[in-house]
């Protein structure tokens, strides 16, 4: 068996490995390398061999794909499978991860690591590489860890201890992963080992100034006349790690397909070394994260540097960006935990006999809120990663985006609460509350802005729902043509209109009995979401993409419901298997379920009410006035007319 594995591995290895130099493949388990090699070669071979020896088999049996969970939930199909909170298969694996993660945390806590301010520091990267912390998901044959998504998330959590967390995660999840997942063997061999050894650094060049969507990209690559290379022109902005990186992954327009009036741009991903002619960069100043603008002028890229296939860059982006969104969860968790720990210790320190601050309601409520936020963030992140790990090719578009929005928002909220509780001293730059607040900022603003991500979440849901609900929506929108349907709906929809949906999903049967009440709350949310979907599509039809205010409400309902699912599943699992503090988890889950029900109730009521019952129309009018005047148009309160 072992020999068989080595044999299959040999194909993946570089030419001069020990195994291939052995003439016969049938008994290749021999540890004896080719004798004639000079000393250097011998060492290399030994190293390669050690690599192979250390490979542990990671059997990853994935269950067949299931229907996308959140998308199906919106049309009323609740997949109870999800209430079983996913876990890693082998116990040893979990323990191993725990140990490794702690080692890394320790490493990052050392002075020479803490003081590092840029990922451009080679020593810093090599230290990380020593612990195999670059290229987590890369194959073990090139010295990666071959982690699953959940494991990756755990390690990212550990890596987030460092203040360079943005740079590290962007590097890992965008640049390294793009190469690891989509580049061909040749490119992988060329770049990945160097990157993973910390010798070079990759950066992803995606965003452009004044571009709202990838269809607006101005960076263009044209095939040269001999068809062997591409010529790249354009400018990319906000490239994270752009200053220190020496390998760039660039997304550029390679083809424009015109259909009538609409243009469709095809995008391709390239790898370029930054010292190639025609590449210049400017450091963006005063950002907490190292970013740069990179300019390409007639840069020539050989044909073999295309990642994946030509014109298929969007597919790469579609997947990679979802994983990236998911990986915003871990740093947010780490940072919020830090905030909670520091804050609670600070409060204990401040309390004395005269004034037991930690016993006051004011403090307790805030501490409890942050705690349940962390619980929810963790639950959602690891549920999503678990889904991706346990099902083949699972569609987690919505779930990943939800993790990004929710985690970054809760982090921001926690840092604000921390500021509130700290008081005046927080104004000082060196105070921890102030520092954490600044560290929280990139997650809210960098990359996808939360607000538009929310709208995307809502639209993804509606897109999926629209397919199966199309016929029904057609009837709802034309009551005069389908009068029997309309009358029937008038009576059957009564309970929905009265905000009293029939709770018949029996979710409590899949959870611990203690969760009965919480599960009913969840059912209520699911039912109301289904109703909201129908309203949104029925009222606006395909124009729904323009009603952002309702989309935002709808998205908030979706996000909260998903979080509730994750929390309930996790709490129930912990309670069943008897983890420490499982009772507290139950309490947290109850709290969250109560909050979620209230919020969903309120929001769906607003969606149901339409713009007569909400401020939407007022907002439109007010904003219109401001844009007409191009400034704040209202008079000063002290102004007199006569």
């Amino acid at each position: 068996m072992y020999s068989f594995r080595l044999k299959s591995l040999s194909k993946l290895l570089p030419r001069k490995t020990a195994i291939q130099s052995v003439p016969s493949h049938n008994y290749s388990t021999s540890t004896q390398p080719a004798v004639t090699s000079p000393q250097q070669d011998y060492e290399k071979q030994l190293k390669d061999f050690n690599t192979l020896k250390n490979i542990t088999r990671k059997p990853r049996t994935k269950k067949p794909q299931r229907a996308p969970f959140m998308k199906e939930l919106l049309i009323g199909n609740f997949d109870t499978e999800i209430l079983t909170y996913p876990q890693l298969d082998r116990k040893e694996e979990v323990e191993e991860i725990q140990v490794d993660a702690q080692t890394v945390q320790k490493l990052l806590g050392q002075n020479h690591m803490v003081n590092c301010t840029s990922l451009g520091d080679k020593n810093f990267r090599q230290n990380l590489a020593d612990y195999k912390m670059i290229g987590l998901q890369a194959s073990q044959y090139i010295n990666g860890r071959e982690c699953g998504i959940s494991e990756t998330m755990r390690y990212l959590e550990a890596l987030s201890e460092h203040s360079l967390r943005d740079s590290i995660i962007t590097h890992e999840q965008l640049s390294v992963q793009t190469l690891n997942k989509y580049a061909n063997e040749m490119l992988k061999q060329k770049y990945l080992p160097r990157i993973m050894a910390g010798e070079s650094l990759a950066a992803m060049c995606l965003s452009e100034a004044h571009v709202t969507d990838i269809t607006g990209f101005g960076t263009k690559a044209d095939l040269s006349s001999d068809g062997k290379s591409w010529v790249l022109n354009g400018e990319k902005t906000m490239v994270i790690n752009g200053v220190s990186a020496d390998v760039l992954i660039v997304f550029a327009v390679t083809n424009v397909i015109k259909r009538d009036v609409e243009e469709d741009k095809r995008i391709t991903a390239f790898v370029i070394e930054k010292d190639s002619p025609g590449v210049s960069f400017v450091k963006n100043d005063s950002t907490s994260v190292e970013t740069a603008s990179i300019r390409f002028e007639n840069t020539t890229i050989p044909n073999e540097n295309v990642i994946g296939e030509v014109d298929k860059g969007v597919d790469i982006l579609n997947e990679i960006i979802l994983d990236y969104r998911l990986s915003i969860g871990p740093p947010c968790i780490t940072l919020t935990k830090k905030i909670l720990n520091t804050l609670s210790n600070e409060i204990i320190r401040k309390s004395d006999d005269v004034n037991l601050i930690y016993k006051t309601d004011a403090v307790r409520s805030i501490i409890a809120k942050i705690t349940s936020s962390i619980f929810a963030m963790e639950s959602a992140t690891y549920l999503t990663s678990g889904l991706l790990d346990s099902f083949e090719n699972q569609d987690c578009q919505m779930e990943s985006s939800i993790v990004k929005v929710f985690c970054s928002e809760k982090l921001w909220e926690a840092s604000n609460l921390c500021l509130d509780l700290t008081g005046t001293v927080a104004i000082s730059d060196s105070h921890f509350a102030n520092k954490y607040h600044k560290e929280a900022l990139p997650f809210v603003s960098l990359h996808d802005p939360n607000d538009s991500l929310k709208i995307i979440i809502a639209l993804l849901g509606l897109q999926h729902a629209g397919v199966s609900l199309n016929e029904k929506i057609h009837k709802i929108r034309n009551p005069l043509y389908f009068s029997a349907f309309a009358f029937k709906r008038f009576f059957t929809g009564r309970r929905n209109d009265d905000d009293d949906p029939k709770l018949d999903l029996e979710l409590q049967e899949y959870l611990h009995p203690t969760c009965y009440k919480a599960s009913k709350n969840l059912e209520y949310c699911v039912k109301r979401l289904e109703f909201a979907t129908e309203i949104m599509l029925g009222r606006y039809g395909p124009a729904v993409i323009n009603y952002h205010m309702d989309l935002r409400r709808y998205a908030e309902c979706i996000i909260d419901t998903y979080i509730l699912v994750a929390c309930l599943g996790r709490a129930s699992r912990s309670y069943c298997i008897g983890l420490r503090n499982a009772d507290c988890e139950m309490l947290v889950a109850d709290t969250i379920s109560f909050n979620t029900k209230q919020k969903v109730q309120y929001l769906v009521k607003e969606i149901h009410g339409g713009h007569y019952a909400t401020n939407d129309e007022n907002y439109r009018q007010i904003a219109k006035r401001v844009f007409k005047a191009k400034e704040y148009a209202l008079e000063h309160p002290l102004k007199r007319n006569f």
């Binding site: 969507d213 960006i321 538009s452 709208i455 639209l459 599509l537 395909p542 191009k630």
Partner: protein, 391 residues
């Protein structure tokens, strides 16, 4: 109450009888006075009143606010013993206000009201009050207030005291004053197109304002000021206020080279009595897009992009033409120049070309200008010929 009603209805009735023929052609104007019909009736009479004092103001040579107030002061001082003929004086003074440029000046109106003696006209009982005590005097002041209203002059609280001292709290002028003070502030700022107050006197500033207002229909428009002297071979030395939005630039970029562009004008725009000429750069209208039936019930094919950095807009439902693509033509830019001459317009086109519209160098630009009696000029052909040869 009854009496009041009778007065109003009665007067309206008189109005109907006298003007029943003209009634249909009566232009509706918003007035705060319920007595305005009476004023109309008395129009001829009023002019005859004014005849007497005509010369008092005609004699003054330099006509300014100062001399106007001086004339009023002289009348008051001369006549201080008997104080007669105020009504006639006020009527004739009102007629001359515009000549002196004080028709929008509150101080002038106040000093006119001040001509009336205080106390004498205050009614002593309710019968006097309701039956128009000293009707001529009251009517005169009502007419004065009416003129203020027409000129958009809002009274102040000092005027209330004046009217109270002259006609008492039941006097009709005071009631009119109260109605004015109720409505005028409400109308004062209602205009959706307010003009700056005070209005700049400089033509350049006015033109800039006019162009900004016209182009305000698209908030992304950028108004730029060019100088003709920056263009080589230009004869005029003047300014050009030009407006163009990003959408217009894009439209111009997409313009078909074989279709000529037209510089048209001058068109007129009025800013509070100041005339500004402006010109537009346009082309023939695009063929109106086919009304392809968008199924507004089909939700099975919503398009969502995963990476919108800003909220998506449902353009794919139907391509809505921009505000610049009108039925009679697509407008690419508009401008006003200091001289409104053809040469300055040529400079304008050159400036636009240098300012991110390279297409203008390739397209034929036709000048179709209507300058009074002059013929329509058409020099674009030569121009573009030259340019093509250059290339």
């Amino acid at each position: 109450m009854f009496l009041k009603k009778l007065l109003r209805v009665g007067s309206t009735y008189c109005y109907y009888r006298a003007h029943s023929k003209q009634y249909t052609s009566f232009i509706r104007t918003l007035r705060t006075s319920s007595l305005h019909c009476e004023q109309k009736q008395d129009k001829d009479e009023k002019e005859s009143k004014a005849l007497i004092q005509r010369d008092a103001f005609d004699r003054i040579e330099s006509k300014s606010k100062q001399t106007y107030l001086e004339a009023i002061r002289i009348f008051v001082n001369e006549d201080h013993i008997y104080r007669r003929g105020h009504v006639e004086f006020i009527y004739s003074a009102m007629k001359h206000m515009e000549e002196f440029g004080v028709h929008k000046d509150l101080e002038a109106y106040k000093s006119l009201i001040d001509v009336m003696p205080k106390g004498k006209f205050i009614p002593q009982n309710i019968f006097q009050a309701e039956f128009m005590h000293y009707p001529k005097q009251q009517q005169c002041i009502i007419d004065l207030l009416e003129q203020m209203e027409d000129c958009g002059v809002m009274p102040d609280f000092e005027m209330e005291d004046q009217l109270l001292n002259i006609f008492g709290k039941r006097g009709f002028p005071l009631r009119k004053y109260w109605r004015m003070m109720y409505w005028m502030p409400k109308f004062k700022n209602l205009s959706p197109f307010p003009v700056p107050d005070p209005l700049p006197t400089d033509t350049f500033e006015l033109a800039k304002y006019a162009i900004e207002r016209i182009s305000g229909v698209d908030v992304t428009t950028v108004v730029t000021v060019y100088q003709t002297s920056d263009v080589k071979d230009s004869i005029d030395d003047t300014w050009i206020v030009s407006a163009q939005s990003g959408t217009q630039k894009k439209l111009l970029q997409e313009h078909d080279v074989t279709e000529p562009l037209y510089v048209e004008g001058p068109f007129k725009v009025w800013i509070k009595g100041n005339l500004i000429n402006y010109f537009i750069l346009r082309t023939k209208p695009k063929p109106s897009p086919e009304d392809d039936d968008v199924n507004l019930d089909d939700v099975s094919n919503l398009k969502v992009s995963l990476f919108n950095l800003r909220p998506p807009v449902g353009k794919h439902l139907k391509k809505i033409p921009s505000v610049h693509e009108q039925d009679d033509g697509t407008i690419f830019s508009l401008c006003a120049t200091g001289t409104s001459s053809q040469d300055s317009l040529l400079s304008w086109i050159r400036h636009l070309e240098n300012d991110g519209n390279p297409k203008l160098g390739e397209v034929q630009v036709v000048f179709t200008l209507k300058t009074g009696t002059k013929e329509v000029a058409k020099v674009g052909d030569e121009e573009s010929q030259e340019k093509i040869e250059d290339k």
